[in-house]
């Protein structure tokens, strides 16, 4: 029989495993000179995207399907965590020629 302590430990492990996926990664996407690079990137739910805006312009990363809308002030880096899987096309609302794709695996 499992002791009470073991049960608690097992429960904690389980909660921990759910809260922090084992391979959560940080992926960088750079906006420079009105270009998003890389133009296509693969990630997983739970990964963090580090949005680096090297321009003097304000940019956004806006999902066409409404999944996210991240605002990047000029010369700033912001982060966001991917919550939903899917192939998400996104663009900058202020400079719609800036387009890219994020493939988020479950």
């Amino acid at each position: 029989m499992l002791s009470r302590r073991h049960l608690v430990a097992a429960a904690l492990l389980l909660v921990g495993a759910m809260a922090v996926p084992a391979h959560a990664a940080t992926i960088q996407v750079v906006m420079e000179n009105l270009v998003v690079s890389p133009a296509e990137i693969s990630a997983k739910v739970g990964d963090t995207i580090e949005w680096v805006n090297k321009d003097v312009f304000v940019h956004t990363a806006t999902a066409r399907n409404g999944d996210f809308d991240v605002m990047m002030p000029a010369k700033k880096t912001v982060t966001s965590v991917l919550k939903k899987p899917g192939t998400i096309e996104y663009y900058c609302r202020f400079h719609p020629n800036m387009k890219a794709v994020l493939v988020v695996a479950p």
Binding site: N33, V58, F94, H95, P96, N97
Partner: protein
Amino acid sequence: MMFVRLSAAIAALSLMSGAAMAQAAKPTDPQIAHIAYTAGVIDITAAKQAISKASNKDVKAFAQDMVRDHEAVNKQALDLVKKLNVTPQDNDTSKTLSKQASDKLAELAKLSGPAYDKAYVANEVAYHKAVNSALETQLIPSATNAELKGLLQTGLKIFQGHQQHAEHVAANLK
């Protein structure tokens, strides 16, 4: 001689006399900086008028984009001339641009409602077209300083986006 093309493109914006187009020499870097900065200020002024006068929300949002982007470019331009220790030099093209812009502003001020929205956006299309053509054929090729050239190239890229955006807004107003 190339300068005539620039002035001609700018003249296409509105009716004007040929007197201001007489300048024929290739612009110098201090003149180019002045022209580019002036062109930015003109669009910011027009956009501020639009923010207070426009009734269509897409037109208002476009105007806000213009203020934000052109102020960012002009701030870069000021930082650059300071760094290069260059004093922007006033010139006939800048003067012509300013004169035409204040006439246009007065003309637009008399309009209101959808008529204003339409006229503002139509002018933005024409204005960005003229400025982009001037940048492409005249200002960028004439710039000698690499950093100035780079800034103008970034400007061209962003203003081409503005032109498309303005054309899109204009199409939706019809």
